[in-house]
């Protein structure tokens, strides 16, 4: 368990041990840019349909029929947008919120948004307001539906209380969730709500899969928000991402085969 000696030693140009990473990074960025450019030039990027996203209109319809509201949340996400792992998830969740709010505004269904992330409040308010505006119903937007509670536990408790009192017809959880995932998911089941979720936090995926009717895992959350927004920038980078995943897959396969020969060529190359 000794510290790796010599790590970070500066070579002529690039720091030793980071050369392959640099080449890989540059390759990724170039590829993303190429696909983004092609997408903007009209090249069609198709993303498969996500059952969870396809179920959102169904959830809205259910809420409209039952005369009940919808609950929406983007999770605890470490209470900040600036977290590198959680922030993108929250933003993807807010992007999907815009879509859900439009459908809800169209059907006359009320959405309640609960959060404990203070820096997301202006974004959420603008997103929801714009959604009502685009549906031609700006007067229907009530800022009081956005409920902020500081801290994971108060946010969770408030959500449980809301679910028990208001009995929403559908719960939509899209974002960076922590232990509140299983509690909220199960509480939603208690009241018989239809539940749709999406998170990239590996430790909560099993709980959402167990408690929700539809669950998106890992990358699907980002891809779904891209598919909804139909933004060529995002769609292009997702395509580039898929290509790089194939490259990684090929490297893993080659590495697996090479490992039988006993050589460490590939490992040494990747550690360069």
């Amino acid at each position: 368990m000794d510290k790796k000696k010599g790590k970070g030693k500066k070579m002529a140009i690039i720091i030793s041990g980071r050369v392959t990473a640099f080449i890989f990074l540059v390759t990724c960025l170039v590829l993303f840019y190429i696909f983004m450019y092609m997408a903007k030039r009209g090249w069609k990027v198709s993303i498969r349909t996500f059952p969870a996203v396809a179920a959102i209109p169904e959830a809205i319809g259910r809420a409209a029929e039952m005369g009940k509201p919808i609950y929406y949340s983007t999770g605890y996400a470490m209470e900040t947008l600036s977290n590198p792992d959680q922030g993108p998830q929250t933003l993807a969740g807010i992007s999907i919120l815009g879509y859900v709010t439009k459908l809800a505004a169209r059907s006359g269904v009320k959405i309640y948004y609960y959060t404990c992330i203070p820096d997301s409040l202006p974004l959420v308010e603008e997103t929801m307001r714009n959604a009502y505006l685009e549906e031609g119903k700006p007067e229907d937007f009530d800022p009081d539906v956005i409920r902020f509670l500081s801290g994971q536990s108060p946010y969770l408790t408030a959500t449980l209380g809301f679910m028990q009192r208001e009995r929403p017809a559908a719960n939509i959880f899209m974002g960076g969730f922590y232990y509140e995932a299983v509690v909220m998911g199960e509480a939603g089941n208690t009241i018989g709500a239809m539940q749709i979720s999406g998170t990239a936090n590996t430790h909560q995926m099993p709980f959402f899969i167990a408690t929700c009717d539809y669950a998106m895992i890992s990358e699907e959350l980002y891809a779904a928000s891209a598919a909804i927004a139909q933004n060529p920038d995002i769609l292009g980078t997702i395509k580039g991402e898929d290509i790089m995943k194939l490259v990684i897959l090929a490297l893993i396969g080659i590495g697996f085969i090479i490992s039988f020969t006993g050589t460490t060529f590939l490992i040494d190359l990747l550690r360069m």
Binding site: I13, I14, I15, R18, A21, L25, C28, F32, Y33, M36, S82, P84, D85, P88, L91, A92, I94, G98, Y99, V100, K102, L103, R106, P118, D119, L121, P122, L123, E126, T127, S150, S153, P154, T157, Y179, V182, V183, E186, A187, N189, A200, T202, F207, A210, T211, S218, E219, Y222, S225, I228, A229, N231, D233, I234, T237, I238, E241, M244, K245, I248
Partner: protein, 217 residues
């Protein structure tokens, strides 16, 4: 300054900062390293200021609820504001060592700690009912998941070893070897997701980052 120009300035600053960090990591040029260090220190300071932002938002949203006397909610918001002000004042009275104040310490040692642990503890109950409801052998995949789950549960609980000495071995295999490829997949895909997000932020195409979030329908 026009709205467009304001956003362009934000994109430019973000791109410069991101490039500085990338160059610092790979090239180790002393001037860039010094600049990157300074930027990181600024980021830490700005993050600390986010606490103040959270405070303002909290007071604003709950203050509005109290002011409007929203039925069913204004009382709880009032309690929140009361304890917020009380804790802040107590902390400021002993700014170098707030926990030397007995009331401050009591508030954290008893209500805060107990309530926090209670909220976390209810997770166990919900997991139990979720497992009962969701773990059904509807098909082969679900049955395999069920069996693996039982082995892992018995590996975690010391009683598993008492029931059969090989139970922890099998459960350990699922935990330590069986599920590792799947977790590695999630790690790799999550890393790519972050990479693309960072790339879009770098070139100013990540709208959500700049407050332009919206969905198509």
């Amino acid at each position: 300054m026009s709205e467009v120009l304001r956003k362009e300035v934000v994109y430019l600053i973000t791109a410069i900062v991101a490039l500085t960090m990338i160059v610092d990591y790979f090239f180790g040029i002393q001037q860039i390293t010094d600049a990157a260090s300074m930027i990181r220190t600024w980021a830490v300071v700005i993050s600390a200021m986010a606490l103040a932002l959270g405070t303002v938002n909290l007071m604003r949203s709950h203050g509005n609820i109290v002011r409007k006397r929203v039925p069913g909610r204004w009382f709880y918001s009032g309690v929140l504001i009361f304890f917020f002000v009380l804790t802040t004042l107590l902390g400021l009275l002993n700014i170098n060592d707030p926990s030397s104040n007995p009331i401050y310490k009591w508030l954290f040692d008893y209500p805060y700690t107990s309530l926090g642990q209670t909220l976390y503890a209810i997770t166990g109950f919900y997991i139990a009912s979720a497992a009962y409801r969701a773990f059904r052998a509807r098909n082969i995949d679900a049955a395999l998941l069920l069996i693996a789950g039982i082995f892992v549960l018995l590996k975690n609980a010391p009683i598993g070893e008492v029931i059969w000495s090989q139970l922890p071995v099998i459960g350990g295999w699922f935990n330590d070897i069986g599920q590792v490829p799947a977790m590695r997949t999630f790690l790799i895909t999550a890393a790519f997701g972050l990479l693309t997000y960072g790339f879009r932020t770098l070139i100013g195409r990540e709208r959500g980052f700049y407050g332009e979030v919206g969905g198509g329908a």
